[in-house]
Amino acid sequence: MAEFANLVWIVAKIVALVVPLFIAVAYMTYAERRVIGWIQWRKGPNRVGIYGLLQPIADAGKLLMKEVVIPQNANRFLFLLAPLFSIIPALAAWAVLPLGDGLVVADIDAGLLYVLAMTSMGVYGVIVAGWASNSKYALLGAMRAGAQVVSYEIAMGFALVGVLMAAGSLNMSEIVHAQQGPFWEWFWLPLLPLFIVYWVSGVAETNRLPFDVAEGESEIVAGFHVEYSGMAFAIFFLAEYANMILIAGLATTMFLGGWYSPFHGIGYLGPIFDLVPGTIWFCLKAGFFLFGYFWFRGTFPRYRYDQIMRLGWKVLIPVTVVWLVVESVFILTGFGPWF
């Protein structure tokens, strides 16, 4: 009976995490269109509901009622399974992310490794979708996405190695505890090159602009999900945005001090800012990264495919390797307030 109660408690925790996440994903699409609208000197969706706030719900309703068209020569089983391959890792990785002090579904020791393993599995959705569609554009998109994600995973992994060296732990909560203090004691400052590498490869991992060659509307129509419609397409969309929020949350946890306020532990300022719950600080910091996603999209033109590969292999990976050596020297000499 105790086991059963435990199971119910775990499920309750998961629901309490996933429902707000889905709402956040829905309103991310709205926020994105509004922000891009402002950047491009137009209004964006403002007709459905007050300020267009009901737009995501209208979109979801539309997608739910559309037919899921399955191409004649597609591999039916894998075609329908691919969206699930995409969304499941995107949600599973959230299990170890602490949204506040102790506010985490699974506080496991190998948290960072788990996150890396889960994010590396998201690419299966794209590859399987591209292959099962039996379409040229979809296969091209899948190839591009696969090569890109596998390449940037290495840079990302090295950036995470830097974080685990600085924190001395793979546990996500421990990593945040290691950054306790005001904003200049968080890891973004001593690990600045790794932070930037992580951010860039995070954008590339989620196949977002300016690295969205997997979709590349002007070249290969819509890339891997060109044959998908209705709810199957919506799930891909959901996975992409869930992944974006995940990368933002991870960057917050590892480089921007998780749930700590920017003035934690300074004289009178610290206790005042600590009155705001940690989860709000977490969301604000993650929101900064999410805004960055929109900002990049509105600012940069799409990278050419060979340039993406060059950036990943010849720029980002050497930068991380050099900085790991520098960081080792920092740790040996006990440099600054961080080590």
Binding site: L78, L113, L116, M143, V150
Partner: protein
């Protein structure tokens, strides 16, 4: 109770996936079943409290190796009929390899020195997290074998690149540095001409 149930579920799916890897008609399906097999064995390792090994299996084999594998398989235009033909011919050697593996496993499991049934898990035995225990052993007791293994891998990487790398003078090569350093004057020519009158 739930743990035992989970074990049997994972083990059953693992065996099913492993069988499907060699019996599935479509090679892409085979590769995907291999992914499923890896995933379930990772879950079994997690249940045995070897969390580092379990997650590393997913990270390396599922996340990287099998993705590249799947790529190659997808690109191949395999004639399924000709693949069926070799089945009977390779059956004896396959059976031989299978027998050798069974005997080896039996030697390990049945041995007096390797106490699998009443063994302690790594976390309990050392009193620290799995990852830490593995790391400290790897870099102290087994430092030289570990370094030698990494050098062997490096040699393999260099060899693989050397075997596939060949200079092809006829390919069109892009020099990114030169592309970036291009100035407006090198590409753009402004021509001044008298305006034409409409007739």
């Amino acid at each position: 109770m739930i743990e035992l149930l989970l074990f049997y579920v994972f083990a059953a799916v693992l065996l099913f996936a492993a069988t499907m890897v060699i019996t599935a008609k479509n090679p892409v399906h085979s590769a995907l079943f291999l992914v499923l097999a890896f995933f379930n064995s990772a879950a079994l390792w997690l249940m045995a409290e070897a969390e580092f090994l379990g997650i590393a299996l997913v990270l390396i084999y599922v996340g990287a190796v099998m993705v590249l594998f799947l790529f190659v398989v997808m690109m191949l235009d395999i004639n399924l009929v000709s693949m069926r033909e070799g089945f009977a011919r390779y059956l004896p050697i396959g059976a031989l390899v299978g027998c050798v593996m069974v005997v080896e496993m039996a030697l390990v499991v049945g041995s007096q020195d390797v106490n699998l049934i009443h063994g302690v898990s790594a976390a309990e035995g050392v009193g620290m997290s799995n990852t830490k225990a593995l790391g400290s052993v790897l870099y102290t007791v087994y430092a030289y074998p570990f370094e030698i293994a990494s050098v062997v891998l490096l040699v393999a990487i260099v060899a693989a690149i050397m075997l596939t790398h060949r200079r092809r003078p006829d390919t069109k090569h892009q020099n990114i540095d030169r592309q970036v350093r291009v100035r407006k004057e090198q590409r753009l020519r402004i021509v001044t001409m008298a305006p034409e009158k409409r007739k």
